[in-house]
Subunit: 286 residues, 2 copies
């Protein structure tokens, strides 16, 4: 299997993504089944992200906007847009395409294509109604991975489909709302680096350059969730990762900034609908 095609069981991705792209691998397609809830707390990356959701129930929040996902749907997330994804456990599956437009530039320059059609990269944002079209491109990316011309052609088609449904009324572009987005990125980045420690609201507010009192309402407005809930999401997502890797509930608790084991288990059950132990078992079963 090539580096471009990834099968993640249901280990959730977390926050600020570390994606490794190069000329040989300027994009990835990750296939996930949803044996458990899949929660990616607020995060962003330098890649264009496309979610091909098949038979899914959940929500995608891109900057301030929450998009409900039900059944089959395609959601596009432009580079550097802060977003979170919550997909419910079920029979569904999701294909996550990440495209590094920078690395892809050696082959083709998608932002230049967009500029020539009068579209903006920021405009590739939100629901794309052409599910079948996007599905065809994603399948070709997977099935014709061995053929450079074919897979790059599929990527170009995908960009063309997204461009056609960009800038529609119901898909307002991101990044047009001033400095809120930069502040949010600063906080998200800081939280990604510090969730293992004891983190106070005052610290987060300082990172955002806001007063402690104003910070909470500001964060909620821009992130679509409370600061505490967001921090818990980051910690639980990382705990899932530790659990998938080590199977140890104690380690997951300690390594992800939870002061107390019973609180960790209680929160995990609330967020994931099962205990950490049950979660580990569900992974072993697959």
């Amino acid at each position: 299997m090539s580096r471009r095609i990834l099968y993640g069981k249901n280990t959730p991705l977390s926050f600020q993504e570390s994606l490794f792209f190069d000329t040989d691998c300027p994009y990835t397609v990750r296939y996930k089944e949803l044996r458990n809830d899949d929660v990616a707390p607020l995060h962003y990356s330098s890649a264009l992200e496309v979610l091909l959701c098949c038979d899914i129930s959940g929500t995608v929040t891109i900057e301030e906007r929450t998009i409900p996902v039900c059944g089959d749907a395609v959601v596009a997330i432009p580079p550097y847009a802060v977003h979170s994804v919550t997909l419910k456990q079920g029979e569904g599956r999701v294909y996550v395409v990440h495209v590094s437009l920078e690395e892809l530039r050696a082959f083709m320059d998608i932002p230049f294509f967009l500029s020539r059609t009068g579209a903006r990269l920021d405009g590739l944002c939100g629901v794309c109604p052409d599910f079948d079209g996007v599905r065809g491109c994603v399948m070709e990316l997977i099935e014709r991975d061995g053929d450079l011309f074919a897979r790059m052609g599929a990527l170009l088609r995908l960009a063309g489909i997204l461009q056609r449904c960009a800038d529609r009324e119901e898909n307002p572009s991101v990044g047009r709302r001033g400095e809120g987005s930069d502040r949010l990125k600063a906080v998200v980045t800081w939280a990604s680096a510090n969730f293992r420690e004891k983190v106070s609201v005052a610290d987060a507010a300082a990172v955002a350059g806001l007063s402690k009192n104003y910070f909470c309402s500001w964060f909620r407005r821009h992130a679509g969730t409370t600061w505490n809930d967001y921090l818990n999401d980051v910690r639980i997502s990382n705990a899932c990762r530790v659990l998938a890797k080590t199977g140890s509930v104690t380690r997951a608790c300690q390594e992800c900034g939870f002061a107390d084991l019973s609180w960790f288990i209680q929160l995990f059950r609330k967020k994931r609908g099962r205990t950490p132990r049950q979660y580990v078992k569900s992974l072993e079963a697959t």
Copy 2:
């Protein structure tokens, strides 16, 4: 109609082609019907050329190699390869695709694609057996000219098809036979600039840096035709252009280096199977 899609009735192209490419027009597709013989004497250009021949009889000579064309066929000619094309009058039609890989680079870098698959640009040379595949790409270039993503995708598919049939046994690459090609280009370029004047074999030999005696056999071996025949082809092709533009047989004779009107008419009839006057009438009829 866009600048990229051209309908040349059957005005023959001639010698060193002056093609005008820019970012908006990094390639052209020219559709020609063959109401008359279509003869393009030895020439070259900086563009990759693809001939989609439908129901055609003729020959394409690329550097030393003569390729018979019969019925449906695709012939690829790499940039800077000296070549000539002779297509017989008939019911057939030909689509000539010229691609400026330099101008195209703003969108996508075909030579980089090729290098990543281990192919060479020089290898895109000769007959490509996937007629239907190439035909599909050319039709898409024409029919979806208004859709940047679609037409660039078609161009990428076309390159992929050519790459797949490159480097096959029966298609030895050009440009691997040393300095013969550069000399030939020098002579062809010089002839293109000077055919309107009285041109001697000694002058041409001097341009090639060869003795007058050796020049004739050398030219024949590398060009697949004699020097005199080549010069006549250049002059007659240009005469056709003048005839198509002005309808004047006298001007065509004078402007294309023919000292004598009756010799011009005689040669024209030999080369094109009809007199200059009949040729003008055949153009008017269409």
